[in-house]
């Protein structure tokens, strides 16, 4: 078993109040399912769109995210799966695809050699 970070990108949060609630409910169902199956090893964190970036040898502070909105990471969780293909199968159940986003699946580098 290995760990995989799911990076959620390009999540569309706008919509009518009713749609937002429906979206939230879908996430709730999905997360509860992963949790019931014992797949979540780290609940991760939601991230806001607001961003600054410190870059270069001069440590210049830049305003704003440098990705397109659709590429912005909105949050992450860590799940456990047999391999990256199995992890991708798990990711397919995420409601994010219904509102314009995607999941980046990244193996977590392990301390155990």
């Amino acid at each position: 078993m290995s760990e995989f970070a799911f990076l959620f990108r390009g999540r569309e949060l706008l919509g009518s109040a009713e749609q937002q609630q429906k979206t939230l409910e879908k996430w709730g169902v999905w997360m509860a399912d992963l949790s019931r199956r014992g797949l979540i090893t780290d609940p991760g964190l939601p991230l806001q769109d607001e961003a600054k970036r410190v870059a270069g040898p001069a440590r210049v502070i830049h305003d704003g995210p440098f990705a397109e909105i659709k590429d912005l990471v909105n949050g992450f969780i860590v799940v456990t799966a047999d391999d990256i293909d199995a992890a991708c199968e798990i990711a397919k159940g995420c409601p994010i695809f219904e509102h314009g986003g995607g999941v980046e699946v990244r193996p977590v580098a392990s301390m155990t050699p």
Binding site: G15, A17, E18, Q20, L24, G28, G44
Partner: protein, 446 residues
Amino acid sequence: MPLDDHFFRRESGRLVSSLTRIFGVHNLSLAEDVAQEAFCRALEVWSLRGVPENPQAWLMATAKNRALDVLRRQRTAAGHAPEVERMLQSGQTVEPALDDLLLPGALKDDLLRMMFACCDPRLTEGTQVLLVLQILCGFSVGETAAAFMSSHAAMEKRLGRAKAVLATSRRLFDIASSAQVARRLPAVQRALYLLFNEGYHGASAETSIRTDLCREAMRLTAVLLGDPRCATPATHALGALMCLHAARLPARIDSVGDLVTLCDQDRTQWDQALVVDGLSLLEAAATGPDLSAYHLEAAIAAIHANASTFEATDWAAIVSLYDMLMRLQPSPIVALNRAVAIALRSGPACGLAEIRRMRDLDRLSSYPFYFAALGELERRSGNMQAARTHFRQALNLARNSMERRFYARQLAVGDTAAAPFQGLEAMWDHAFDAFRARVESDRAAG
């Protein structure tokens, strides 16, 4: 924890109402933006972290923090509400001032104030209803457009214009003034009545939208009933008529989405809890000398609720209630409903004679139920040719697929001359006042 159904919608109404008190009615769109941001934040956090213990307080706190940012930025612009301005001038700092404004107890008043503000006499009745639906019930422009069978662009324009009118009042509606509340209360009742009607008889074929509208109208009527100054006999009667009609909703549409006539409805499916609520509200309405149209309509609905079968309905009592309604609030629609009741009491020939005596018949020329009523009464009189012609006209005027299927069925029944009474009872339930709202709001708009 799971959220209640439509929690976001309801909270949207609350947040926008409270934020408008902070920013002023001229900053309504700012209030809406801040509320929207709070929802986005909730979606962002709750989707990964789960819904917090007290989601309502979480949203309010989030909105408050956002409002603080806005106010601090606008400090010199003095763009916010006079109430906040006063608090700040008296030396209070922004945050405690907002805490005071957002006390949980203030919420009911905020909702009430916003309801009264939306029913601004400078707007038509129809527009007031749209504002109530959008601002207080948290319907998006798209959802409002769907509920009223309008295009998104047209709805956006209409709502935008209406909000621009509201924005010209620098001051919030003063609900502390009993005189002002009393003066505008009839308009608020009327808007809720129209909202309910749109749900009950409206143009949308989507039954889910329609029950949403009915439920929202009932929720806001309950807010009115919760305020001693607004809980007048007419408000009780309004609540009664909503409960008694809503009680029939479960039996009104069958499993394939077709209208079921009052005659054919399985009365055991009527929501008895709502019937009981309706009857007790009607009893509470029977105090004082005032007799409103809501009283009469609720009384008619109560007669249906109390009839164990369609045949057992006391049509004579219904006719006399319609007589009173004609005196109180005459309209071609009331006259037509009265004629149908007369037909059910005394036979189709009497009903047809009543219709022929009616004035303003041209006002009904786009009203499918008018032709369906004529068709049914002709059929009952054995004039199949005339019946078919009328049903065909009704079919041409149908507003949605549910109505089309219904009139098409009537037309087919007309051909076989079977199933007497079918259409007539449908009209009862279906058209009960249906278009009065429409005709009158069109007239107000035009």
